[in-house]
Symmetry: C2
Subunit: 188 residues, 2 copies
DNA sequence: TATCAAGTGTGCATTTTTTGCACACTTGAC
DNA sequence: GTCAAGTGTGCAAAAAATGCACACTTGATA
């Protein structure tokens, strides 16, 4: 049992219920919606780790283009959930376009339950890992004081200009005299 | 006629020649190789804008896994060319895995010539654009004045602390009063 | 409800930094 | 030799940073 929140989107009510039954056994919270236009509101409201988006363009209700549109819209949000797409047809073009737009994985109907669950978990964990990396980077980034980054920048610019003080001062946007002061202050 | 260098990889000599004939009409230089193990040497030698990699796993010579291995190897290089994959089978799983590993596009055999060429050009231009973005960013990185990086840092730290002025000032190594002054000065 | 720690926003005098300008050099190119 | 471009430094005026004080607000806790 994984402590993840899943949201399944499908305009076929019967299929949606089947999906929910399967996913309920493996995930803590499983929501279902019939149309993706409700997704932004749901994402704004609470935690969602992965979205299962069905692109059944056979019934004319929610077609492939629309599916890609929603995929794109969801992925543009600040902290997007993992997205796994489902399609009834083995169309490579759609799969490729979906992957280009940031889908995390692709499942074809009829799906294999075990495979579906594995793909969902893998996609969520991959997303979490990349999140953590970003956080670590920004945390490390936030430590230095203004003076430290100033010193770092001074070193860099001085190096880049080959220690041409006049040019360096110009690049840094400070007066030449001030640059001399700072060089002495930091012992550069 | 595009001034791009293309490298086509296929272990079927006849198909390779067909490809070359088609591509020669559209691209400045078209190379052909029978096995991807020559690719690293070729890439080290000269300019290659795009690679057309055929993954025909029907004959047992160059199978799908091997194709993905080479895709991965090429994409790990410092300045990788765009890669378009070709497959005789409309297998979505392979397409998805290939896209995950950084393939730029996917074409199924039998291919449509116009579509193939368009995809190659699009992939190269996309690659060039992202290159330019990186260059611009790194170039811009050396341009900004001390005040600009100061402002950037202020924004970042304020955001990170949830606009806790006292903590922000502490992190930045300046007095609280000064931080207020800077916030007003920069309009944060 | 009272209280207390932690934070906010601002004023003010003092100290520090920045700035602009001046001056006397050095250096390399032409 | 000279000329443009750069260096290193002094100095007074202007600007910014600092420490401290004061009157708040806020959320948790006894």
């Amino acid at each position: 049992m994984h402590n993840y929140h899943i949201l399944a989107i499908d305009d076929n009510e019967a299929l949606l219920q089947t999906l929910k039954l399967i996913l309920k056994k493996e995930f803590a919270v499983v929501g279902t919606v019939r149309h993706p236009n409700l997704v932004p509101a749901i994402l704004a409201g609470g935690k969602v780790d992965a979205i299962l988006l069905d692109m059944n363009f056979d019934k004319g209700r929610l077609d492939c283009e629309e599916g890609l549109y929603w995929l794109n819209a969801i992925k543009k949000r600040p902290n997007p959930p993992a997205i796994i797409l489902m399609t009834a047809f083995g169309d490579i073009d759609i799969a490729v376009r979906a992957m280009k737009q940031g889908a995390d994985d692709f499942v074809t109907k009829p799906w294999d339950n075990r495979e579906l669950i594995e793909k969902i978990v893998a996609a969520i964990e991959k997303r979490n890992n990349s999140d953590n990396r970003q956080k670590q980077e920004t945390e490390e980034d936030s430590t230095p004081t203004l003076k430290e980054i100033e010193e770092e920048r001074l070193r860099k610019v001085l190096k880049e200009t080959g220690r041409n003080i006049t040019k360096s001062a110009e690049i840094l946007g400070i007066s030449r005299r001030t640059l001399y002061n700072k060089i002495e202050k930091y012992g550069l």
